[in-house]
Amino acid sequence: MLRYFLKRLGGAIPTLFIIVTLSFLLIRIAPGGPFDQEKSLPPQILANLQSAYGLDQPLWVQYTRYLRSLLHGDFGPSFRYKDFTVTELIGQGLPVTAEIGAAALILALTLGMLVGILAALRHDRPADYTLMTLAVAGIAVPSFVVLPLLGLLFGIYVHWLPVAGWEPGSMRHLILPIVTLTLPPLAYVARLTRASFLDVLQRPFIRTAFAMGLPMRVVILRHALRPALIPVAGYLAPAVASIMTGSLVVESIAGLPGVGRYLVQGALNRDYTLVLGMVVLYSAILVGMGLLVDLLYAWLDPRIRFER
């Protein structure tokens, strides 16, 4: 088991490394610099700025400096928000994003599995069809349509929930954003769970369980559930990716001060270090999720623990 984990870890680290390197190179090679958008500066000031940010050093030196500071958790200064480092910005925004992201993920997983199992048990009956059609809608309708629509419905026409804005500690402002983020992964998990359940129920060992006179409840919970969850576990990392992507839109529309909004702003302002830092952060999170999923697989299917 330990060996399995270490092997996976060994695969993850190079991945991260490649991403960081690629991102770094792309930025440095790109045409134009971070100062291009401002009115053309006198060459002297430009040179000073470049030197202050270390941009006049050879590429190799910049790279090693960057790597070293990364290992210290330092993403460098923001090119736009002159008083802040990227790390500080991330520190401010991450809790917000993490809060809505985690809530959305948990909701999507639990509700999605419930819906999926329900649809599988009511297979080919009206409940199944309606649920699955709703699921397609959940996947296809973009978050930037859903959130304004929900805002329209619940905020403007019915005045139940605030449409945008944010107060520290306020839950009400987070409800619509969380719902918006939850819908696509929920729909996906529901579809996956349903299909996987139907597949597992066909397998011989389920037939054995029924032949042994075990009641339906036991067969589903003890025999069918864990194998059926394997594809769902495989979807965990994409689910997180989907929520991350959704947070860009949701935070921008709802005005939430999370890292998603910073990323968008950074992209619009061509704030190189901020965007680079965000990409590295998101990639690290996803690689970490991947590792977690690998561990989860081993629990769901014991055969994997023994892989050489």
Partner: protein
């Protein structure tokens, strides 16, 4: 009478109500996009100062209403739809060709090359590619041709995997050995034998890729990182509408409804198409 694979798939597909309805809606939307503007006297750029942010109606010939600058929403929505669809198709074509070639080569050549190529796909697949597209827009600026290429470059992974699987199994077939024995080169074999036989899955995934790409483009345009003013795509229109939601909700609703309908129907149709081809594996 035996049926060909295509025949079976087509029969199952057309028999399915969901497939027929969604296909019908897609065709209607495309027709509307192409011919709709002729039905309305307004032009895309016209600013009608007498009807700023007006409600939809028939009296003033602004069927979907107007926006903050007095531009007719009906025509703008259809124009935006046109842009989104074109980007969707072109970027999909780029994406699919990439995936097809990559997968065919990896699967056919096999061995070490295959391992390396698939490892790359695996790594790239684990990352949210949207961030890389955003990254690219930061790096290279908001160039619209770049948009096509970067979006297209992002969506090829799934198809590459599928095509590779097919190519692997095709490689073992006897007619390939015959071709090799008769001296055909690798490139030739890939073009004449492998590619035509993987068309099936390509078509299925094409129908599923197109909505993904349209979504990606709308997403970027919504955030301001894609299509730029004064050209409109559904994404930019929706962004405008979101800002005006309280005062003039139809500015959001028209493009929003169009995009939603288009994406949902493309997804449903793509699903049914995939089911129809998977006929053998179903119960």
């Amino acid at each position: 009478m035996t049926e060909t694979l295509w025949g079976t798939a087509r029969r199952r597909l057309l028999a399915n109500r969901g497939a027929r309805i969604s296909l019908g809606i897609i065709v209607a939307l495309v027709a509307l996009t192409v011919m709709g503007p002729w039905l309305n006297p307004n032009r895309v750029e016209t600013l009608d100062w007498s009807f700023v942010a007006a409600d939809p109606g028939f009296v003033h010939a602004h069927w979907f209403g107007t926006d903050r600058l007095g531009r007719d929403l009906y025509v703008r929505t259809l124009a935006g739809a046109r842009v989104s669809m074109i980007v969707g198709l072109v970027a999909s074509a780029v994406s699919l060709s990439l995936g097809l070639m990559y997968g065919a080569i990896a699967g056919y050549v096999g061995g070490r090359t295959d391992d390396v190529m698939m490892r790359i796909v695996e790594i790239l697949g684990g990352l949210p590619l949207i961030f890389f597209v955003i990254f690219l827009t930061v790096v290279f600026g908001r160039n619209e041709y770049l948009l096509f290429v970067s979006i297209g470059a992002v969506g090829w992974l799934t198809l590459a995997r599928i095509v590779r699987g097919q190519a692997l199994s095709i490689r073992r077939q006897e007619y390939i050995e015959a071709a090799i024995a008769s001296g055909a080169g690798t490139a030739r074999i890939i073009c004449t034998h492998v590619l035509p036989n993987v068309i099936g899955p390509v078509i299925v995934y094409a129908t599923l890729t197109v909505p993904q790409i349209i979504l990606l483009e709308s997403f970027l345009s919504f955030l301001g990182l894609g299509i730029q003013e004064p050209r409109a795509s559904l994404g930019t229109l929706i962004a405008e509408g979101a800002g005006e939601m309280e005062a003039a909700p139809w500015i959001l609703l028209a493009p929003g409804a169009f995009l939603t309908l288009l994406l949902v129907c493309l997804n449903i149709f793509g699903d049914r198409l995939r089911d129809a081809f998977d006929a053998g594996t179903r119960r």
